[in-house]
C-alpha cells in the first residue's frame, strides 16, 4: 500500500480488506483438524529401512499394545483379577489379542496349529512318511508319555502319531517369556500380575485408544474394590495422555501468555485502546500462522499452537515499535495524523529488515525432516509476516499517531538512556566470559545429544515403569530385529524362510537365544506345496504305517484318524494371509508380517538374546549374508543413528539460516563495519547461551538448535535497531523504550514456554528466553560509541 505523503491512511478500504481476510482465515480454521499425535517429532522421510522403523513405531503392534500391571493383594488375588480382566477385555471386542499367561487363552491357537499341522510342521518331508521315518517319529512323539507332558500328548496320538503338533509347538518355544505364577504372568522384580492387550484400532487412532484404556479401567473396577490397583503403560497410553497433556499445556500457555502480555501492554501504554491496537497484529499473526499450517499440512498440531503462544512475544514487538515510535510524528509541525508517515520512513525499513532476518532464520526449519519442526517454521514465518503487514497497514488506519506511553514506558526509556553509555564498560567482562564459554564448548565432549526421547512428552518416571513392565513381559521396545522385505508376500515369505534357516544355526551355536518368524504360522506357498507333496497317498501311507508300528507302542489299528487326516491335508487349501484372517493366529501373523498397499511386504523377525547377554548384530548380519533384502536392525541404535543424522542436518540448516541472516543484513547495511557491529552481539549471545547450557550440564538437541536460531532471528532486530540509532542519532527515549518493552515481552513469552511440561517447548524456551535478553543487552554493550547524550535533547517528557 502506498499513501501520499500528505494523506491520511485509507482507513476504510484497508480495514475492509483486513476484515475479509480475517473472515476467510476463520473459515479455513473452522475446518482444520487439530492433532496431538507424537509422530510429528519423528523424522518424515528416512531411507527404506528407516522408513520401516518409523512405520513400525507409528502403526506397528507396539503402537497398539497396552501393558497392564495388577498390584496389591496377594498372588492368588492378583491372578484372579488378571483372569477376570483378560476375560472382560477379550469379551469387549476392542482387542485383537489379550495375553495374561493363562493357558485357556491359547486354546484356539493350539487347535489351529493341530488342524494345519501338515502344512506347518518343518518335519514334513517325504522320508518322514516311510516305514523307518514313521518309526523314528513315533519314538520321538511318545518320548514324553509317562511324564506330566504326556497327558496333553496322549489324546492327540491317534491323529498325530508322528508328533507334528509337538514339533510346531517346540519351534514356537519363546526364548524369553514372562515368569508364571498361579497360572498367570507375573513380574520378576515386583509382586504384580502382568498382561498385554493389543487393540484392534490403529495406534494412530487416539480416540479409539482412549476408549480401550477406559474399557480396561472400567473392567478392573470390581478388582479395584477389593483393594487391587491397575497400572497401565504402553504406546497407546502415552499418546492418549500426551494428547491430554498437550491440550492442557496449550490452553495454559495461551491463557498465561495472554494474561502476561496484556498486563505488560496495559502497564506500558496505560490505555485500553492502545492495548487493543497492540494486540491486533498478534491476533492476526496467530490466525495467519494457523491458516498457513492448515493449508500446508492439512492439520495443525497442538504443539505448534503452544509454540504460537511464544510467537506472540515476538510479533507484539512490531506493534510496540509502531505505537511508541510513530508517536514522535504527532509533535511534528506537519500536524496530527502523520506520525505513521514518519514511522514508515524511518523505522519501517529497520523493522522490515528485522522481519526478513527472522524469516531467514525460521525458513531453515521449513526443510526440517521432522514434520513437527517444519510446522513450527511455517507457523512462524506466516505469523510474523502477517503480524508485520498488519502493523504496517492496519495499525496506521486505526492509530495514525501511535499511542501515548504510560509513565512506566517513559521510565523504561529513561533507564535505557541512563544505562546505554555505561554498558560498554561491560565489554571486557563479557568478552572474558565469552572466552570461557568458548573454551567450555571446545572442551566438552557430549555437547550434542542424539536422543529422540528428549522430544518425548512422556515423563521420565512413566518411561521407567514402561521399561520395567517390558522387562517382565519379555517384549523389548528396542531389541534386535531382522527385517526381510520383498515385492510381494510370497517372495517375502520365501526369503524369511531362508533367513530363519540361518538363524536356527545361530541358536545352535549359542549366538542368539531364539527368534520369532511369521513363517512358522504362515509358510510360503512354495513350502506349503512341498509339504503337501511329501504326504503319501493312502495306500502307500497305510503300508508304511503297518511296517513302522510292528511291535511298537502304537498299534496301527488305533491310527485310522491319522490316515484320514493326512489324506485330508493332501487336498487342503493352502494358507494365505486372506484365509487366516480372523483366526486365532491372525494377530500374531499381522504383527510379524507387514503388508503394504502397493503389494510389497516385510517380515519382522525379532531376535532374542541368550539369557542376560547382548546380541552380536554383526554376527547375525554375517550369517544372513546372501538372503536378498534382509537387514539387521538394532532398534535403539538405529533410532539414535537416525536422530544423529538429523541433528547433523539440522546443524547444517541452522548454519545456513544464520548465514542467510548475515548475508541479508550485509546486503542491506552495505557496510562491513556496521555488519560486524550487528553480528558481534548476536554471536556473543549465542556463545554465552550455549556456554551457560554446557556449564549446567544440559546436552543440546535439535530443539536447542532451533532455539539458537531464534535467538539470532529475534536478536538481529535489536542489533539492527541499535545500528539504526547510531546512524540516525535521534529519537532515543521512545525507540529505546520500545526496544526494551519489546524485549521484555519476548523474554516473558519464551520464559513461559520454558516453564512448559512439554520438553519440546521447554527446550526452545530455555534457549530463547536468556538468549534474547543477552542479545539486547549485548547489542547495547557493543553499540558503537557516540558523543555523550544531552538529556535535554532526548528526555522528552
Amino acid at each position: 500500500m502506498t499513501a501520499g505523503p500528505t494523506t491520511r491512511p485509507r482507513s476504510v478500504p484497508v480495514l475492509l480488506i483486513w476484515l475479509a481476510l480475517v473472515l476467510l482465515a476463520a473459515l479455513q480454521i473452522a475446518r482444520t483438524p487439530f492433532t496431538a499425535d507424537l509422530g510429528v517429532f519423528l523424522p518424515a522421510a528416512p531411507d527404506a529401512r528407516q522408513r520401516l522403523l518409523i512405520e513400525q513405531i507409528h502403526s506397528g503392534v507396539p503402537a497398539r499394545t497396552l501393558l497392564l500391571a495388577i498390584e496389591g493383594g496377594d498372588a492368588v488375588a492378583r491372578a484372579q483379577a488378571s483372569r477376570e480382566l483378560a476375560a472382560a477385555l477379550r469379551a469387549s471386542g476392542l482387542f485383537d489379542q489379550v495375553s495374561n499367561g493363562d493357558q485357556e487363552g491359547f486354546a484356539g491357537f493350539g487347535q489351529w496349529l493341530l488342524e494345519h499341522r501338515y502344512l506347518l510342521s518343518p518335519a514334513v518331508r517325504p522320508e518322514r512318511f516311510t516305514a523307518e521315518g514313521l518309526r523314528d517319529a513315533i519314538a520321538e512323539a511318545t518320548s514324553l508319555l509317562g511324564t506330566p507332558a504326556g497327558e496333553a500328548i496322549k489324546p492327540l496320538l491317534p491323529r498325530d502319531p508322528s508328533g507334528e503338533t509337538q514339533r510346531i509347538a517346540e519351534a514356537l518355544v519363546p526364548a524369553r517369556t514372562p515368569r508364571s505364577e498361579a497360572g498367570v504372568w507375573v513380574g520378576r522384580q515386583q509382586p504384580r500380575a502382568v498382561l498385554m492387550a493389543t487393540t484392534h484400532a490403529a495406534g494412530a487412532d487416539t480416540d479409539a485408544q482412549a476408549v480401550a484404556i477406559a474399557t480396561a479401567r472400567k473392567a478392573f473396577e470390581p478388582a479395584a474394590a477389593r483393594g487391587l490397583a491397575l497400572r497401565i503403560s504402553g504406546a497407546p497410553l502415552f499418546s492418549v495422555e500426551s494428547r491430554a497433556r498437550i491440550q492442557s499445556e496449550v490452553q495454559r500457555l495461551a491463557v498465561a501468555g495472554t494474561v502476561v502480555m496484556s498486563s505488560l501492554l496495559l502497564l506500558a501504554f496505560g490505555s485500553i485502546k492502545a492495548f487493543a491496537a497492540a494486540a491486533l497484529p498478534v491476533a492476526t499473526g496467530v490466525l495467519g500462522g494457523i491458516v498457513a499450517v492448515s493449508l500446508g499440512f492439512g492439520s495443525v498440531h497442538g504443539m505448534t499452537l503452544g509454540f504460537g503462544s511464544a510467537l506472540i512475544g515476538e510479533s507484539v514487538d512490531y506493534a510496540i515499535y509502531y505505537l511508541i515510535q510513530s508517536r514522535r510524528g504527532a509533535d511534528d509541525p506537519s500536524g496530527a495524523g502523520r506520525g505513521w508517515l514518519s514511522w514508515v520512513r524511518t523505522s519501517w525499513p529497520t523493522v522490515r529488515l528485522g522481519l526478513l532476518t527472522s524469516i531467514c532464520g525460521f525458513t531453515a526449519l521449513l526443510w526440517s525432516d521432522f514434520p513437527g519442526l517444519a510446522q513450527l517454521g511455517v507457523f512462524s514465518v506466516a505469523g510474523l509476516v502477517t503480524a508485520a503487514l498488519t502493523t504496517r497497514f492496519v495499525l496506521p488506519a486505526l492509530q495514525p499517531d501511535g499511542a501515548g506511553g504510560s509513565a512506566l514506558s517513559r521510565r523504561l526509556g529513561m533507564t535505557a538512556v541512563w544505562a546505554i553509555p555505561r554498558l560498554p564498560r561491560l565489554r571486557l567482562p563479557v568478552l572474558a566470559l565469552a572466552a570461557v564459554a568458548a573454551l567450555l564448548l571446545w572442551r566438552s565432549d557430549g555437547l550434542w545429544r542424539a536422543d529422540l526421547a528428549s522430544l518425548s512428552p512422556v515423563p521420565q518416571e512413566q518411561l521407567a515403569f514402561d521399561e520395567a513392565l517390558r522387562a517382565d513381559l519379555g517384549v523389548g521396545e528396542g531389541g534386535t530385529l531382522v527385517v526381510v522385505q520383498g515385492p510381494d508376500v510370497e517372495t517375502t515369505l520365501q526369503r524369511a524362510e531362508a533367513a530363519s534357516d540361518r538363524l536356527e544355526e545361530l541358536i545352535d551355536n549359542g549366538t542368539i537365544g531364539g527368534f520369532d518368524s511369521v513363517t512358522r504360522l504362515l509358510p510360503s506357498l512354495r513350502t506349503q506345496r512341498a509339504r503337501q507333496a511329501a504326504l503319501p497317498p493312502p495306500t502307500q501311507l497305510r503300508a508304511a504305517l503297518d511296517a513302522a508300528t510292528q511291535g511298537g507302542p502304537l498299534p496301527a489299528a488305533r491310527l485310522a484318524p491319522f490316515l484320514d487326516e493326512v489324506e485330508a491335508a493332501r487336498h487342503a487349501a493352502l494358507l494365505t494371509p486372506a484365509s487366516i484372517a480372523g483366526s486365532a493366529v491372525a494377530p500374531t501373523v499381522d504383527a510379524l508380517l507387514l503388508r503394504r498397499a502397493d503389494g510389497s511386504a516385510a517380515a519382522l523377525l525379532p531376535v532374542t538374546p541368550v539369557t542376560r547377554s547382548g546380541i552380536d548384530a554383526r554376527a547375525v548380519g554375517q550369517a544372513l549374508q546372501g538372503v536378498p533384502q534382509t537387514q539387521v536392525l538394532e532398534v535403539g541404535d538405529e533410532l539414535r543413528t537416525l536422530y544423529a543424522r538429523y541433528l547433523g542436518e539440522a546443524q547444517a540448516q541452522a548454519l545456513l539460516g544464520a548465514l542467510a541472516v548475515v548475508l541479508l543484513m550485509g546486503l542491506s547495511l552495505r557496510s562491513p563495519r556496521r555488519l560486524l557491529a550487528v553480528c558481534q552481539p548476536l554471536l556473543l549471545a549465542v556463545l554465552l547461551t550455549m556456554g551457560a547450557l554446557a556449564a549446567l550440564g544440559i546436552q543440546l538437541g535439535i530443539l536447542h538448535l532451533v532455539g539458537l536460531l531464534l535467538v539470532v532471528a529475534v536478536g538481529s532486530n535489536y542489533a539492527l535497531f541499535f545500528d539504526m540509532l547510531h546512524e540516525s542519532g535521534d529519537e532515543r527515549v521512545d525507540t529505546l523504550a520500545s526496544l526494551l518493552l519489546a524485549n521484555i515481552t519476548t523474554v516473558a513469552s519464551f520464559a513461559l514456554i520454558w516453564s512448559s511440561k512439554l520438553p519440546v517447548l521447554s527446550a526452545i524456551g530455555s534457549v530463547v528466553a536468556p538468549g534474547a535478553l543477552l542479545a539486547l543487552l549485548l547489542s547495547a554493550v557493543f553499540a558503537r560509541r557516540r558523543a555523550p547524550l544531552a538529556p535535554a535533547d532526548n528526555a522528552r517528557a
Binding site: F109, S143, L172, P174, A175
Partner: protein, 201 residues
C-alpha cells in the same frame, strides 16, 4: 505360541529326567542328614535306563542315556536311545536339543517345571529348605537303603503328578519313580559313573 503344549513338552522332558549317584558319610539318619551328605558332593555323572508304563500304549516305553550334575545348579540329561535328545539346565536357563534342533528358554516361565527342577537340584545339592518349599518330603528306611517320597505342594503340578519316589543308598541314588495322577508311571534306574570325588573316596 501354544503355551500349553510348550509347557507340557518342557515339563515332560524334565520330569523324565532325574537323579544321579552321590557318595556320603552319614550318622543319625534323617532328611537333614541325607541332605548334608548330598551337599558334600559337588559333581557327579551317571548312566540311566528308564521305563515308562503308559495307559493305552503297548508295552513299556524304554529309553537310556546319561545324567550329570555340577553344584550348585547345573543339571544335564542326555538321552541316547531311542532318539537323541538333551536338556541342559543352568540357573534359570534351559537349553533343549532334539535331533539337530536347539531351543533356549527360561525356567521360571514354567512353574511346574520349576518345582520339579527344584526337587531334583535340591536333592542333588542337599538343599533341604528348597526341597521343602515345593514338596512335602518324607524319608523312610536306613542309610543303606532309604526312600525319599516327595508330594508336590504346587496345585498345578499336583494335578498331574501324584508323587516322586527316590530310592538310594548313602548318597547314591538308585532310582527315581514318577507316579502320575492318571496311573501312568515311570521308573528310572541309575548307575553311577566314576567321577573325581567318587574316586577319591
Amino acid at each position: 505360541m501354544n503355551a500349553r503344549d510348550r509347557r507340557r513338552l518342557l515339563l515332560g522332558l524334565l520330569a523324565a529326567a532325574a537323579g544321579q549317584a552321590l557318595p556320603a558319610r552319614a550318622q543319625g539318619f534323617d532328611l537333614q542328614a541325607l541332605m548334608q551328605g548330598m551337599a558334600a558332593r559337588k559333581s557327579g555323572q551317571a548312566r540311566f535306563t528308564e521305563e515308562r508304563i503308559v495307559h493305552g500304549v503297548e508295552g513299556p516305553l524304554t529309553s537310556s542315556g546319561t545324567l550329570a550334575f555340577t553344584a550348585p545348579d547345573r543339571f544335564e540329561r542326555h538321552t541316547l536311545h531311542p532318539v537323541k535328545e538333551s536338556m541342559i539346565l543352568e540357573g534359570q536357563s534351559l537349553v533343549l536339543r532334539r535331533g539337530d534342533r536347539t531351543r533356549r528358554t527360561e525356567l521360571d516361565a514354567i512353574p511346574e517345571l520349576g518345582a520339579l527342577m527344584a526337587a531334583l537340584r535340591a536333592t542333588l545339592g542337599g538343599d533341604a529348605a528348597q526341597l521343602q518349599k515345593h514338596f512335602r518330603a518324607t524319608l523312610a528306611g536306613t542309610e543303606s537303603r532309604w526312600v525319599l517320597r516327595l508330594v508336590p505342594l504346587d496345585a498345578g503340578l499336583a494335578r498331574q503328578l501324584s508323587q516322586i519316589e527316590i530310592v538310594g543308598r548313602a548318597n547314591d541314588l538308585h532310582s527315581i519313580a514318577l507316579q502320575m495322577q492318571g496311573g501312568d508311571r515311570s521308573l528310572m534306574l541309575i548307575e553311577p559313573l566314576d567321577s573325581p570325588s567318587r574316586a577319591a573316596q
